[in-house]
Amino acid sequence: MPKRQDIQTILVIGSGPIVIGQAAEFDYAGTQACLSLKEEGYRVILINSNPATIMTDTEIADKVYIEPITLDFVSRIIRKERPDALLPTLGGQTGLNMAIELQESGILDELGIEILGTKLDAIHKAEDRDLFRTLMNELGEPVPESEIVHNLQEAQAFVKEIGYPVIVRPAFTLGGTGGGICYNDQDLEEIVTSGLKYSPVTQCLLEKSIAGYKEIEYEVMRDSADNAIVVCNMENVDPVGIHTGDSIVVAPCQTMTDRENQMLRNVSLKIIRALKIEGGCNVQLALDPHSFNYYIIEVNPRVSRSSALASKATGYPIAKLAAKIAVGLTLDEMKNPVTGSTYACFEPTIDYIVSKIPRWAFDKFESAKRNLGTQMKATGEVMAIGRTFEESILKAVRSLETGQFGLSLKHADELTDEWIEKRIRRAGDERLFFIGEALRRGVTIETIHDWSQIDLFFLRKLEKIVAMERELQADPFNVDVLYKAKRMGFSDVTVAALWNKEQREVYDFRKENGIIPVYKKVDTCAGEYESDTPYFYGTYEEENESVKSDKKSVVVLGSGPIRIGQGVEFDYATVHSVWAIQQAGYEAIIINNNPETVSTDFSISDKLYFEPLTIEDVMHIIDLEQPEGVIVQFGGQTAINLADALEERGVNIIGTSLEDIDRAENRDKFEKALREIGIPQPLGKTAVSVEEAVVIANEIGYPVLVRPSYVLGGRAMEIVYREEELLHYMEHAVEASPAHPVLIDRYLTGTEIEVDAICDGVNVLIPGIMEHIERAGVHSGDSIAVYPPQNLSASMVETIVDYTKRLAIGLNIKGLLNIQFVISEGQVYVIEVNPRSSRTVPFLSKITNLPMANIATKAILGQSITEQGYKTGLAQAPAGVYVKVPVFSFAKLRRVDITLGPEMKSTGEVMGKDITLEKALYKGLVAAGMQIKEYGSVLMTVSDKDKEEMVDLAERFIKIGYRILATEGTAKVLEAAGMNVKTVGKIGAEGPTLLDVIQKGEAQLVINTLTKGKQPERDGFRIRRESVENGIPCLTSIDTADAMLRVIESMSFQTDHMPKQQVVL
């Protein structure tokens, strides 16, 4: 069927900020979809609050709105733009939920706006548990025994009937927020209560647990002519019970015969036909390992994380084709973009195996519960391709960048057998490695199967890997054994460790003996048809298909999996760098391993290598491609960390040289450089032992900021106020040694300023200066950033510009740099310089209309800033105020303290823009998911150091009609200042305590600042967690509270009483 001619303008709703459960995959899907619609000649209007994405670049849609995805704002845009149609299925759960809200509000009917693709009633049928079960019953398809509950009593009644364990799934939430498995009454009460709170419709599904079944997924597509296909099936290595986003997943399925495969394929197609899906859809099934019995777990009637994975795993671009289906095209008339010769109406067949491993943030959140269940906790994932399971899983392991190269555990010899068993029985992020250790200790795969329910197939493969470790160890430098090991995916690092040699020696030995990988093409058809997709993976086989072209090339290193501190912003810069390299006339080659991102869409670069970002894997590609050089400054710390080893191997690092990178990142060298340039920084020194740390801290005076050198996202960074805290930190958070120095700085309170700049070696372009709302001490990634700065004097700006220029030139920066300043008592200090792309590059690029990564790349390649047609110095600020507001995923991570500090905790960000700061802040806060109430109650409980500032805030709250609730200490201070405060009991006090206030929803806002001491048992921690659990905004910084108050004030009218006339007698 030809495409629709009766519509011209299509509104696409994006997925908003990155949160756990909804990450970069929707940037990939959304970008593809928008471009795909434009390709068909439609006018595309995009709304998305996330500035860090490629999707919100103005080239991607005809009009881009970076505005909050709320009914209010989307309706405004709809009224203004009058689109003919709306495409809701590409913006994740956020996009879908928004579309439903719009429909229910009546605006779509009122303006005659059609919903394209899958219709809303189908979405309801798929997502509403009750309707879904009814549909499955009609189709005769089995679903686990279950019950929709609306309160705890209903849940208890259901359990009485079918017994434990039961799974709780809240309706209409992403990533299973608030869900979990209950084994007893206590679990049930806890999980059901929180689940009901998270569900926008206060509905949970209680389901008989089928834990232990195989979890199988089918990625299916259907068009309006009822053609339906399966793009890919996937098998979770972790059986049912662990959220698929937290499971190790392989594609295609490994342990099903064709009968089981076709049975489940038929079911999947039957369901999408019944739902009349037009586009992509994900069907999750549970299959009994001992029979043909199966259950339907759930259906996602939209593109998803799994569809991004399926697209990258097969090459088949699901989102792109789903968008075309939405405008009426059918699968049998569209070409398969991979082969270019065959049609889209076919099912990819692959001749490799793909493994996906999730990436969790537990390394940052030490106190978080590490066990995995039905609620997703991973922030990102890696994918690897190999010709065997062993090869692909080992490649995936080393792509994680967790310091692991094989199946080994750190400090394994200290672990007891009981501990290992426990960690295998109760799934957690490191289960794979505990299994490796168990196998090494001789535990049989049958026993491990009993503990974990993982299929023996996968366990046998892991056993083979462990056996190969022994074979290698027994026979060093045996060519045949080494070749076998490399074919199984062993890294040189693992081999070197087993041989007690250096990695380099293994590499040299391999090269001498011709053991080097070849690159195979991902072509959707297992080689049956010719294809010119430039999408490759490495493996140890005979024939290499990746041919070096005659064109000069440049390699860009990607940033690997999304994690806290290294998010989609770095993928944004990577993609822009690739485009700039192409514009400059070079072939752009990208190496990356994150299946969710735009950068790993094979149509972005001239060549995509889907490979781990380790020195070994990167060098193999460089050996083959012989590029002019490698650009490392866009791939975050992942790429920067490889610079050293690359240069050591004679590779040309283009852009800021390794030596200069080191001058910025190595504390002592940086200090020396600053002295030479003449720029002040807070007093600070490097300690290589605990004793030294104590001496230094006493020298510069407390409070001090401590952190290991070379960090991203402020990992293990803390402000310490006393010597005992310092000792605790030195003992628990870091291991100080000459190889791992610890930085100790004077902690200055003051305004934090952030600058991104581009230097071509001679001139410096400063797109903008940003002022942070939160004072220094809160990680820049967790602060609200304001552009342009609102409180800087002209001379201060001048100083900052001057320092920036001198730093850029003085540090010999070529390309991007990011600087953080603190202004304390009228003096500007440099806190740190990052000689690379930063988190704020997309934010600033979008505001200033200066494509920073592009300009930087061209500068790196030799085109000066002025030659590119840009002015140098500080760019003229456009009208308006722009704020970047961080977004957190605390609801997903139990036991994590939400207090803001030097360690970064946010997973994503949104942008708010308007003509005043207050309006911009309002939008930013709303887009970040905070509910701002014009009146209500604020619960205050602050530490002594903040009480003074709190008085002013409280007064202002009262003035606009808020009621103040406070704990005793805080209340006393406020009452002393003449305010009317309701005192609530502390935790443990008699009568209703503040926890009751929070649980009962009696406060609309909580302000809680940190009392020193980080033990989770502290009351403050409970207050903060309780707020998160109950969905009440909890502000942990006085500055954020002040900003929020300004917003509320600007929303309210002043209602001051008339001055009392006093007649002077």
Binding site: E347, T349, D351, A526, Y529
Partner: protein, 367 residues
């Protein structure tokens, strides 16, 4: 340790790998198949007669061999080539390993070779004759190449594998006579599922003998090789037309077309796998089908016959189905019985049922 084995192709290419299955040597035509599941069905498909089958999916043997998923009792293939053979299967139905089955049936296998390189070579050059050397035997490349070149693809394939005697698979419903040109069990499963009263007869059964069974319908089965090698079959079919509805599959489809005067030709790259989109021209719908054929109807020869083209391959446009309404015959090149592969087209057996129901009523033909 596994013993070394080589695959030597007639063009001189040599692959070194490891032996599994039978230790003996073999020669055959090397072809590839792209299904990701269903190796048991693929290697037991009689259409693979004499072939050395290359699996493009790299990990084979994962689910073992079970009692149920055979497509014939004896295996007709000559050899199997895989990237990695798994001798520790995991599936609740698994009764033995693939290697044990191959040993039992005397069929050699090779593993550990770059099967993608081999596939690309075959895509480039078309099927190549090749030799799998005996396990552990030293390589004499020129000798092996010579043997591969000298090998002649057998012309009596159907005769060798068709049943020698008629047999029945009784049911309560319509009488269907199946002419066995290399019948897959999947066909019988579909017929039995519909409770037809099935009688399978040898490929060379005479028209009279078939009609004496008073069939409500006749099914021309799939089978291996070149339909022109199946002497007399087209002639027999010609005489059957009009006496009962006929449904042809695979080789049976080609023979039916030939009986109307159509010609067939060998394809450069045959179809083998489970993901071939076929457009049903009567409904406009595209279905994913299972296929294994290296011959196809010649486009130009159809015009001079009374046949209507009903199905076409979406990708290369080749003819995938034909019919003759008044004669109540229809046939498809692909495998509606799947096994292995998608079940999208299994409704064709219902259509066969409908045609038999309609008997002489033409208007219901496409129901």
């Amino acid at each position: 340790m596994m013993k070394t084995r080589y695959l030597v192709l007639e063009d001189g290419t040599v692959f070194k790998g490891e032996a599994f299955g039978s230790e003996k040597a073999t020669i055959g035509e090397t072809v590839f198949t792209t299904g990701m599941t269903g190796y048991q069905e693929a290697i037991s498909n009689p259409s693979g007669y004499g072939q050395i089958v290359v699996m493009t999916y790299p990990m084979i043997g994962n689910t073992g061999i079970n009692r149920d998923d055979y497509e014939s009792i004896e295996l007709a293939i000559n050899g199997i080539v895989v990237r990695e053979y798994s001798d520790e299967p995991s599936n609740f139905r698994s009764a033995m390993t693939l290697g044990d089955l191959l040993k039992l049936k005397g069929i050699p296998g090779i593993q550990g070779i770059d099967t993608r390189k081999l596939t690309r070579l075959l895509r480039e050059k078309g099927p190549l004759k090749g030799k799998l050397t005996a396990a552990g035997e030293e390589l004499d490349a020129s000798l092996a190449i010579g043997e591969a070149k000298a090998y002649e693809i057998p012309v009596n394939q159907v005769a060798s594998i068709s049943t020698k005697k008629p047999y029945s698979s009784p049911g309560q419903g319509k009488r269907v006579v199946v002419i066995d040109f290399g019948l897959k069990h999947g066909l019988l499963r579909e017929l039995n599922k519909r409770d037809f009263d099935v009688i399978v007869v040898p490929y060379n059964t005479s028209t009279e003998a078939i009609l004496s069974l008073v069939p409500d319908g006749i099914l021309l089965s799939n089978g291996p090789g070149n339909p022109e090698d199946v002497e007399g079959a087209a002639d027999t079919i010609k005489h059957l037309i009009g006496n009962a509805p006929i449904f042809g599959i695979g080789l049976g489809h080609q023979l039916l077309a030939m009986s109307y005067g159509a010609k067939i030709q060998k394809m450069k790259n045959g179809h083998s796998g489970g993901n071939y989109p076929v457009k049903d021209l009567t409904t406009g719908r595209t279905e994913l089908t299972s296929q294994s054929h290296s011959y196809v109807l010649e486009e130009s020869s159809i015009a001079s016959t009374p046949l209507t083209v009903t199905h076409r391959a979406l990708n290369d446009g080749t003819i995938e189905g034909i019919c003759h309404e008044t004669d109540r015959v229809f046939s498809v090149q692909f495998h509606p019985e799947a096994s292995p592969g998608p079940h999208d087209a299994s409704h064709l057996f219902d259509r066969f049922d409908n045609v038999m129901n309609a008997s002489t009523r033409k208007e219901n033909f496409n129901a």
